[in-house]
Structures are given as C-alpha cells and as structure tokens.
C-alpha cells in the first residue's frame, strides 16, 4: 500500500517492486508488470506519485481494473491535469460500482479521444440532481434520468451522456445538459412519437431512411417551440438553428417548421420534400434518430394506463353509486380545456359532472399527452362487470405499479450512498437498507428495570416533570395579558403611603412548548453481546419512560448489517406509535446480531427525522465502538473507511438541522473518537453499568 510520505520509486527495480505488490492479485506467471514498468519509467516522479495514489484504490475495487489502469492511465497524464484525472478516475469507479468490471473497462478504454479538451467538461453525476428538478419543472409526466452513451428519450426516461463538454467552458457545458434535457423532454411532450408512426413511414421506399428524416424535422420543430416558450434557451440554441447553416432543400423546410406552431402532421407533410437528401449536421443537443425505444414504451404505457384509468374510474364510481353502475357512453364525455399548464379536466358520466380524484387526473393527463384526447371507449363499461372487469385481467398487478416507479423508492428497501474517503466522493446507491419489525419478547425487562432503578427513577421523574411544556404565568410584567391583582393592590397601597410603586402590574401567560422530536438508534451488532446488551435495554427503558414523561415525540430503531446489501433497520417504535406493551416487548427483544455499518443507518435516521415537524430534531445513537462491517472489497467497511463514512453521515445530518448526539460504551475510549464524532457531540462511558444511571440525565441536560 502506498502512503503519502513514501518517496516515489526512482529505479526500474523500485517501480517493479511497488507495482508487483499492488497488482499481485492480477498477475500470473505469464502476466507480469514488465511492460507497465516501461510505461511508468517515462513519467516524472511527481506523475508517478499521483499514479501510486490512485492505483491501490482501483486495484482494491478490482485487481483487473487496477492492472488495466496501470497500463492505460499513464498516457492520460499528457492531456489531463491533476483535477481532471481525478474526475476521470471517479467516473471509472462510478461505472464499476453501477455496472461492473466490463463497463468500467469500457469507460477506461473509450475515453482516450476526449482526453485533450477535458478542461471544461461536466459529468452527468455532477448535474443529475439539478437536471431532475429541471425536467420536473418543465411539467408533464415525471421523467427519470439515466446515464447512457447516446442521448435518447423513451418518453419515460431520458438517457443522457456521462459527460459533456462545450467550448472548454464548464458553464456552457452545464447549459448544454439543460438544453439537451429540454430538447428530449419536448420530443415526448409535443407528440413526435405516436403509435401509427411506422405505418406512416412505410409509404417510403426505405422506411429507415424516412424515419431519420422525420426525426430530424421533428427535432427542429420542437426546438422552434422551445425557443418561443423559453427565450433564454432559444438564445443558446440560436447559432445551431440558423437556416443558413442548412443546405437546400432542408433550409426552407426547417425554417418553416421552426417558425410556426406546426404539428406532427406538418413534419410528415414536409418529409417527402427532404427525403433522400443528406441529413444536416445535428446540433450537440439533439439525440439519436431512433423512435423504437419511445414507441415500445408508449405501447406499454397506453395498455397499462388504459387498465389503470378504468380501474380507478370503476372504483370511483363504485364508491359513488354502490348499487347500479350502468353508464350510457353516449352521455359520457371528458373535456380537457387545454393540454397546457393549468389544464382542467371535466368528466361527465351519464350527463353528470364527476370530480376526478387526483390519481385519475394524473393518469388522464398522461393519456391525453400521448393520444391528444381520451378515446371514447375508455369510458365505456365492459359488460356486466363494469369498468373493473377488464382492469382485473392480465397485468392488473402491473397496473397497480406506480406510474413513476423510477422516481419512487425501489420496491425492496431504501438505497443510500456511502462516502469513500479515498476517492473523496460518494458511492451512489451503495447500501440497501430494509426496515424490519422485531418480534416481541416476553422477557419482562421493563418491569425489572423500573424495579431495579426505582429510587433513581423517582428522582429523575420529578426533575423531568419540571421540564415538561405547558402554560405558566410570568408575574410582574410591564405589559401582559391581564392585571396582576395582588401586585396591583400592593402597588396601590404603596402609592397611598407615599412610597414609590412598582410599575410592573401585569402578568403574562407564556406557553412553553418543547416541540422536540428524538430518534434513538441502537447498536444491535454482535459485539453488544452479554452485559452491554442488558445495559442498552435497561437504558432504553429508562430513556423511553423519560421521553414519555416529557411528552417529547420519539422513535426507536435498532440496527445491524451484514455487507452493504443487507443493512437491517429494526423498527422498535415509530414516531406515531405510543409507548405500549407492544413496544416494550420489542425493546425486550433487542439482541446482538451482526455488524455495525453506521453511515447508512445514520442516513436513514436523518431521512426519518427530517420528516418530523419539530423545532428541535435530535438523533441519539447508542453504540459500543468502531463502525465495521463484513465486506468482500479490499479493506471494506472497517478502519478509516468506516470512520470517515460515519463522520460524513453525521455532517450530512447537521447540515439538515438535526442535532446528532452519540453515546459510546467503550472501555478503551480509543483516540479515534474525536475523529469519528468530530462534527457531533458525544459522551464516552467506560463502564457499561453506568449507562442506565446516566442516560436519562444526559438527555435531560441535552434538551433543557
């Protein structure tokens, strides 16, 4: 392993020795580092130092990736500075995390050409969050964004390239991403893709060529619409949309299409005139000339949404008219004012106006966006079973799937990123966390604890009741809700006797509301076995009872992990649940399980706390030592990696206005603690038996 203070290797032997150590797992008797040593020898010591920083990280991910990087990356140093190299390598590692070795090697090999002018390039990962908001704001159907080599829209997902560069200017490159996103959005929004398209193109001798011409015409037509609606974007696109750029016959037709609010029909009409002429050079914000992905998505969506529409309509009607459901389709219409923002839908069934529930509005809008109108047969009941009959046929389960599945949580648990301190970046969607319920235990831990600590508890209880929120009167105020009669009388008497009177004659009612939400995260890793577990359970009992007295809202979750794919968060008490025997049974059931992957659980707790409408949000963790997990990747979630990720998760929580507080039971009270809890407040208990005695007092002082 290379360390920052190691001198870069100078001689060929030194280089060879270092490379052999790092790449050992990828070498064999026939595959040696000899060739790589020659490449490295041509680099300056400073460049070799940089390469030696990254190589162990890459080889740690995968030995083969490390080997290939050792071979290929030195050549990149001709065109890239330090920062650009870091970004390139992060991209390669992202690809490895998401799509595996082959994709990472492709990213490694395929990027040679664009190396030189990398300075102004922007990566999709950097702008992904912003683009997601951007495309949502443009309106219409929710769209997902994924990374892919060739830009394209499926009308549900936009595929955007992993990086873009324009004029070596990062700002222009970001704008290019915005523009490409808006362009692909517009293709789906303004009707380019429709089911009869292949049929309409088949009248030409070469439908493939015709489709490329059609899609080119359409691309410029929607650019025209965008330029009119979004003039700022129009200015950005203008240099590429100048009709003088195009050869005849394209110039006249494209100019006409861009100038007017034409429809798809207009493009189809002009198709014959440009068919056969070479296509114009496309602007950088146009996508692939391929309609098949969009059409196959469209077909699936139309079927799915028709079933869904009829299902929701059927359910709505069934709730309105539980007995008869006969509906005369001749009397049923749906009127949509416009497709534009603020569209209002009015559905008339049997001549009766019907207020559309939100889910029906959403699906209806989506159907109208695809078909331009709601086909009359959607409103006709299918035989005696009514609307629900065909909705429950094949694929009903699919129809139940949310329309925007890509924008929602994955069905199975939550995905969270993890901080990799070596790359100084996140591994995206790295950990899968599932919420599990803990089966109750009959162990009477609550009764036992309260009995054991009876004296302590009574003392604490009194202290806590003082803290509880409520109304109280503040006396002797200069202004207030009402005259304080006692004070007023005293004052009146004093004045009578010629003394100076107190002008503070009022009393004021003050409402003290604690308004605190607390989430307690309990370590259930294997190391808490025995005494530690008992102490944790006892402490939890006392803390929960204290929180109940204080009337603070609180939740309790336990955690244990077994690799990043199995992070289990055990629900002991949710915020909305009362502290009842059920919850007490689950506290009793807290038992040691596997490992402590702290970061992901802190992120989940942050997510849960963030939804609580409280003035103060407190995240308390009770754990017994260093974060660590069982992992297959080199070094894994232990040592410095785990510490840094935990620290990062605590920083994230603080940024969101949450107050993290860590209680650690650690006999050695390691010197790693300040590094781990740097951003958070923490307390270390060297004797676990002290925990039940101290925890409630810690909380009291923390919140008073």
């Amino acid at each position: 392993m290379n360390r920052p203070h190691d001198p870069p290797p100078d001689t060929l032997e030194e280089i060879e020795e270092r490379l052999e150590t790092i790449l050992e797992a990828a070498l064999s008797s026939r595959r040696t580092v000899t060739g790589i040593v020659q490449i490295w020898a041509q680099r300056t010591p400073e460049q070799r130092r940089l390469l030696l920083h990254w190589l162990p990280i890459l080889a740690g991910l995968n030995p083969e990736l490390g080997f290939q990087c050792a071979r290929i990356v030195p050549a990149w140093l001709d065109g890239l500075d330090h920062e650009a190299l870091t970004r390139r390598l992060q991209e390669v590692m992202d690809r490895y995390d998401q799509s595996g070795l082959q994709a990472a090697l492709e990213a490694l090999r395929g990027d040679g050409g664009s190396m030189r002018n990398d300075a102004g390039s922007v990566r999709l990962t950097e702008v992904m969050g912003v683009l997601t908001h951007f495309v949502t704001a443009l309106g219409g159907r929710r769209l997902g964004i994924v990374e892919g080599a060739i830009p394209l829209t499926t009308t549900e997902t936009l595929i955007l390239p992993p990086s873009l560069s324009l004029r070596g200017d990062p700002h222009a490159s970001v704008k290019l991403y915005d523009c490409l996103t808006a362009h692909l959005w517009a293709l789906g929004r303004f009707g380019t893709y429709f089911m009869e398209l292949p049929e309409r193109l088949s009248i030409h001798p070469d439908p493939e060529a015709a489709s490329r011409c059609y899609l080119t015409l359409e691309a410029y037509r929607v650019d025209g619409i965008l330029a009119r609606r979004l003039p700022g974007l129009g200015r950005f696109m203008a240099p590429w949309l100048d009709p003088d750029r195009f050869d005849p016959p394209w110039n006249t037709h494209l100019a006409a299409l861009m100038a007017e609010e034409g429809s798809v029909e207009e493009s189809l009409n002009r198709l014959a005139a440009v068919y056969g002429s070479p296509l114009p050079e496309p602007p950088p914000f146009h996508g692939a000339l391929d309609f098949k992905p969009a059409l196959s998505t469209l077909q699936q969506r139309l079927e799915r949404e028709k079933r869904l529409f009829r299902k929701i309509l059927g359910t709505t009607l069934a709730q309105m008219k539980p007995i008869q459901m006969a509906v005369d389709p001749r009397e049923s219409t749906l009127e949509a004012a416009t497709l534009d923002d603020g569209m209002t839908l009015e559905l008339r069934l049997d001549g009766q106006p019907l207020i559309l529930p939100d889910d029906l509005q959403t699906v209806t809008r989506s159907i109208i966006q695809d078909l331009g109108q709601l086909p009359p047969e959607y409103l006709q009941a299918a035989g005696p079973g009514g609307y629900l009959a065909d909705a429950t046929g094949n694929g009903a389960a699919e129809a139940d799937a949310p329309l925007t599945s890509h924008a929602d949580l994955p069905e199975d648990g939550f995905l969270y990123p993890e901080w990799d301190h070596q790359r100084q970046g996140y591994r995206r969607d790295w950990c899968r966390l599932r919420e599990r319920t803990l089966d109750r235990s009959d162990d009477p831990v609550v009764a036992r604890t309260l009995e054991k600590h009876r004296g302590l508890w009574q003392q604490l209880r009194r202290k806590l009741e003082w803290l509880r929120g409520g109304d109280r009167w503040l006396r002797r105020q200069e202004q207030g809700d009402e005259v304080d009669m006692d004070v007023w009388l005293d004052s009146w008497m004093e004045e009578r006797m010629g003394q100076e009177s107190d002008p503070r004659l009022f009393r004021q009612r003050r409402h003290d509301e604690r308004n605190i939400a607390t989430l307690i995260l309990v370590d259930m890793s294997g190391s808490t076995k025995g005494w530690v577990n008992e102490a944790i359970r006892e402490s939890l009992v006392l803390l929960c009872k204290a929180l109940e007295v204080l009337q603070d809202r609180f939740a309790v979750y336990g955690f244990s992990s077994m690799t990043r794919k199995h992070c289990d968060c055990y629900v002991i008490k949710r915020f909305e649940q009362p502290l009842n025997p059920e919850v007490e049974g689950r506290i009793a059931a807290i038992a040691p399980k596997d490992y402590t992957r702290m970061g992901v659980f802190l992120r989940h707790a942050t997510h849960l706390l963030n939804q609580q409408p409280a003035r103060i949000r407190l995240l308390i963790t009770i754990s017994d030592g260093k974060p660590e997990d069982y992992d297959s990747f080199q070094d894994g979630y232990r040592g410095i990696y785990g510490l840094k990720d935990t620290r990062q998760a605590l920083i994230e929580a603080k940024h969101l206005g949450i107050h993290p507080f860590c209680i650690t039971i650690d006999r050695e009270a390691g010197d790693y603690l300040p590094q781990l809890y740097g951003p958070a407040r923490y307390v270390v208990l060297d004797d676990v038996r002290l925990l039940p005695l101290k925890i409630t007092d810690i909380y009291r002082r923390l919140t008073s």
Binding site: G139, D178, V483
Partner: protein, 270 residues
C-alpha cells in the same frame, strides 16, 4: 367612544384596491356579508386573499381591521385588556371587539397560526348568536349588523398541527383561491406594475415552471405576489435575470441543488 370611532374611521379604504376577479367570488362574498355568514378563504400564500378582502371592504364601504395571527397571540390580544393609567385601570378594546362594536370587517389572516384556545373565542361570533363574550368585563357584546368575520388559511401546510378544527370550519362559507390562469396573471402583473405584456408573460411562465416543482423539493412555487415583486424590480430598471433571482429564486429555497435548478430554469427564460 369617540376615540375608538376615529380609529375605526381610519380603517376605511377610500381608493379602490386592484383586484382581478376569477369567478363569482365578489357576488358570493357580498351575499355572505348581507346574510351575516362569516367567510373562510383558502389558498396558497400570495395568491390574492388579502387583496380580495381589501377590495370587498372598499366595495361594501366597511372599515377593515386585519389581524395577522401567530402562535403567541392570546385571547386578550383579540378581545382587549385593562391598562393602568395614573393608578386607575381603563379598558381598551382589542381589534376584534372594535370590529364587533363598530360593524367593521375583521380579517384574521392565517388563522391556523393562532393557538386553539385563542381560536375558540370567535365561535359565538361565527354562528347565529353573533356575540362576543368579554369575560373581563363580564358582558356579552352583540355584533353590529355590518360586522363581518373573515378568516384565511393555507391548506398547503401538510403539518397536522396546523389544521382547522371541524367545529371552527363548519361555521363559515368557504371560498377557494388559487393562482390565476396564465393570461389573467400576466394581466395582473401588467396592471399592478405597468410592466409590458411580453415580460409579464415570461415572468408568468417562469412562475409556472417553479409551481411544477411543488411537492418535488419545493414547498410552494412562486406566488403571484413574488411575480409582482420581480415585475416591480424590472420596471425600476433591474435586469430581468437579476430581478427574478432576487425576488423569486432565492426567496423560494435555500437548498443548493434546487437553487441551481431554478436558476437554470430562469436562464432558459430570461
């Protein structure tokens, strides 16, 4: 009480406040006023609720007393309290009592911000009794015939703590307000600020883009009020991009990613 009467007189609105009607709200309010039914206005922030009440007060020629509710507001703040002057205590009407006594329109803005025990004081005023109990004076004050109670709230608040109880809401006629349709909103910007129609249309378009983000990272999109602010800045010479950034983008959120997204949207327009 002449002192109070003068003060009430000062609450009379003499110039017509600009209000662009979206439907039958003026007729509905007038009917409720004449039938002694209190009015509940619902709608997102900055969509024109307060302006509507001002307009109606002008139309009906009644003084308007507005109270912005907050969580520290007590019943005494509404009804009144004793003040000590020169060793004596004198009673001073609160804004609600003044409105009840002198037949004003009393507008309790953002009523859900007030505490529940404060809200109940309006209950006997808001049904057919039309009386205000003043405990400290030991009296029931009968409302003047022209007295009208108007409350407003924003149902967009998702918090369960900020909901209006059924026992309160079922005393009112409710009117729903929303941001006006695009063309009307542009007309409002034009009338309020004198901004030209093209720029008004662009501002409205920008507003609509931000409203699509409501519930997707933004609590609220840009209100008509914010668009008016931006239009005013533009009218007084600020560049449109800067005006929209200062008056809209930065007001809506502190989240860095969302700020960049709204900034990108603004750049597509201005």
């Amino acid at each position: 009480m002449p002192h109070n009467a003068i003060e009430v007189e000062a609450n009379l609105i003499r110039e017509q406040p600009y209000f662009a009607s979206q439907g039958s709200e003026i007729d509905l309010f007038t009917a409720a006023f004449h039938n002694h039914i209190p009015v509940l206005l619902k709608g997102p922030t900055g969509c024109g609720k307060t302006r509507f009440v001002e307009h109606m007060a002008w139309r009906l020629q009644r003084p308007l007393i507005t109270v912005s509710c907050h969580e520290d507001m007590t019943t005494s703040d509404l009804v009144g309290r004793f003040l000590a002057v020169g060793g004596e205590t004198i009673w001073q009407d609160g804004p609600l009592t003044r409105a009840v006594r002198h037949g004003c329109i009393c507008y309790l803005d953002e009523i859900v911000e007030a505490r529940k025990d404060t809200i109940v004081v309006i209950h006997p005023l808001a049904d057919n009794r039309r009386v205000l109990p003043i405990d400290k004076l030991g009296m029931l004050l009968k409302a003047a015939p022209e007295f009208c109670l108007v409350i407003s709230y924003n149902p967009g608040y998702q918090s369960v703590l900020k909901d209006l109880k059924q026992s309160t809401r079922q005393r009112f006629v409710a009117m729903e307000f929303d941001y006006p349709p695009a063309s009307l909103e542009a007309e409002i910007l034009h009338s309020e600020t004198g901004i030209d129609r093209t720029m008004a249309d662009l501002l409205v378009r920008f507003g609509h883009l931000t409203r699509n983000l409501k519930g997707n990272g933004l609590e609220e999109g840009a209100s008509t009020r914010l668009l008016v602010h931006a239009a005013r800045l533009i009218q007084s010479g600020t560049a449109p991009a800067l005006a929209s950034e200062a008056a809209i983008t930065r007001v809506l959120t502190d989240d860095a990613e969302m700020l960049s997204a709204i900034q990108a949207l603004s750049e597509t327009i201005f």
